[in-house]
């Protein structure tokens, strides 16, 4: 039964891929052996997953599942992917609730919080390189930044800080419109 195999394979991916979205990639490479998709299709899938809303891991599971077993396949693969998370996080939450006031847990979080802020900068720096910096850097005045993207970034950042009440989706749609109008 293909649905059982799909569920189990994505359950495994969800269970062992630690560190989010891109950590699922090695597992997806491995699944090529089932013939649900080919390597070039996987590359397309990554491009699609990156350009649609939703967690990349979920997008990948849905797309692979659809290729393997149409609509039910897409749904079952995704459920397989998220089931381990749900189980593990519920257990972690119960443990955390019990010990969250213990000094050792408090001091662990004291160290974690600045590190998470730093990690988010590290993750964002990849996006920054991809969107704002030229792909082949040169040291000419116009060789470093994608000027349209840099300008939009500066304007948007000011707007984000000025209009705190505006919903993020407004900025996302605004970005899409500007991207299309100015051919970014």
């Amino acid at each position: 039964m293909i649905y059982i195999t799909l569920f189990l394979e994505f359950f495994k991916t969800g269970l062992f891929a630690i560190g989010g979205g891109m950590a699922t990639l090695p597992f997806l490479y491995d699944l090529v052996k089932y013939g649900w998709y080919t390597m070039p299709e996987l590359m397309d899938m990554i491009a699609i997953a990156e350009s649609t809303p939703g967690p990349i891991g979920v997008n990948m599971a849905t797309y692979a599942g659809f290729n393997a077993g149409a609509i039910p396949g897409g749904i079952i693969a995704t459920l397989g992917l998220v089931t381990p998370s749900i189980i593990v996080i519920i257990v972690v939450y119960k443990i955390l609730e019990k010990f969250k006031n213990a000094p050792v847990v408090q001091s662990a979080f004291y160290g974690l919080r600045p590190a998470v802020a730093g990690l988010i900068i590290v993750a964002t720096s990849d996006l920054f390189k991809l969107t704002i910096l030229k792909q082949n850097l040169t040291w000419a005045w116009n060789g470093i930044f994608e000027l349209k993207a840099l300008l939009l970034f500066l304007v948007m950042t000011v707007l984000v800080f000025l209009f705190k009440k505006v919903h993020p989706i407004v900025f996302i749609l605004g970005g899409a419109v500007v991207g299309i109008l100015f051919g970014m």
């Binding site: 269970l15 939703g54 891991g57 897409g74 939450y93 988010i120 948007m156």
Partner: protein, 179 residues
């Protein structure tokens, strides 16, 4: 039941607005869960995110499970997670069935170049609030700087998170014994 549907709907919106996965969901999470609903504090968002790095699975799903179980127990976790994954499932199924060349369309490429910049701009605000939240003294400032420095070396976030937690524990213990 009302509250469960509300959980589903809140995470449905978050799932529909998250472009780029993982950390890109943070501005939306802060907006919907911290500012608007008051279901979480900024500290909790950071804590869940850190735990999400260490535990298996997609980080966005881990965070939605956390909030769901906190609000309404196990069934709440299921509803919030299903809410989170429903928009991507629908969108990907539509694209897979109808628009196989979706990612190669010129208009899509331009739109997403713009969206990436918008996400980047929103991230600056999230980073400022995370910095204010985590950096309280010289020790946390050093940890923050060291973590940012990992831009230049290839190290897994899992390792960074483990070292930072251990550093926090040892520093606090040392600070206590010194007194």
């Amino acid at each position: 039941m009302r509250e469960l549907l509300f959980l589903f709907w809140t995470f449905f919106k978050i799932g529909a607005c998250t472009f780029g996965g993982g950390y890109a969901m943070l501005p939306i999470i802060q907006r919907e869960l911290v500012d608007k609903r008051g279901w979480l504090t900024n500290d909790e968002v950071v804590d869940y995110y850190a735990i999400g790095q260490l535990t298996p699975g997609v980080i966005a799903v881990n965070v939605s499970t956390f909030v769901g179980v906190k609000r309404k127990g196990v069934i709440g976790a299921v509803f919030s997670t299903l809410g989170m994954v429903t928009p991507p499932i629908i969108i990907i199924l539509l694209i897979a069935a109808l628009l196989t060349n979706f990612a190669h369309l010129e208009v899509v490429k331009h739109a997403f170049a713009g969206i990436r910049v918008a996400v980047l701009a929103m991230m600056t605000k999230t980073i400022v609030s995370m910095f204010k939240n985590g950096v309280k003294d010289w020790f946390t400032l050093v940890l923050f700087i060291l973590t940012v420095a990992t831009i230049f070396i290839d190290v897994s976030p899992v390792v960074v998170v483990l070292i930072a937690a251990a550093a926090g524990i040892f520093y606090k213990r040392w600070a206590v014994t010194k007194k």
